[in-house]
Amino acid sequence: AQSVAQPEDQVNVAEGNPLTVKCTYSVSGNPYLFWYVQYPNRGLQFLLKYITGDNLVKGSYGFEAEFNKSQTSFHLKKPSALVSDSALYFCARRAAGNKLTFGGGTRVLVKP
């Protein structure tokens, strides 16, 4: 079965430092990959997606992600984290029927 893994339950980073949230996927076909973010008391918000084309995908709020086929990874990155980036981040993969398979989520805490 297609799956997505987020190996870190929580990531702590100081404001202004680079932020990386890791995601790996199981090898099966051509993956369509997504990142979503959930701010406190809010719904899931779409950040970016990889369907095909350039391996580096740019998304909302200054985030980007790099699709790495050899490492089966799709890590989310931001060059300089803000306190307001503190949230729950989910990596997801499109499965059959266009439904999404999610990773377990990574809580990001950006400290001032």
Partner: protein, 114 residues
Amino acid sequence: EAGVTQFPSHSVIEKGQTVTLRCDPISGHDNLYWYRRVMGKEIKFLLHFVKESKQDESGMPNNRFLAERTGGTYSTLKVQPAELEDSGVYFCASSQEYQNTEAFFGQGTRLTVV
């Protein structure tokens, strides 16, 4: 443009009672999905509507869960009777096209069964 809206935002019910969750998708979105996150675990797919038809209900946990989308607009998810393990956050999402487009999520309904 209004986003996906869900009602209620929170619901606390006793075991054995019935609860109905509602989702209003983005206008014009034929695809509507229900997901659930239980006890801080992964967000799990429940089912998928295309207009008023159930395209995929493989994620529905058991027959205590009933989803409808009459007229292809809003959808309801009824849990009857509710059990303790049904507690969690229920998300609804909608998308316009079938392939390759991102889904837009509502804020979720937090269901607590006591």
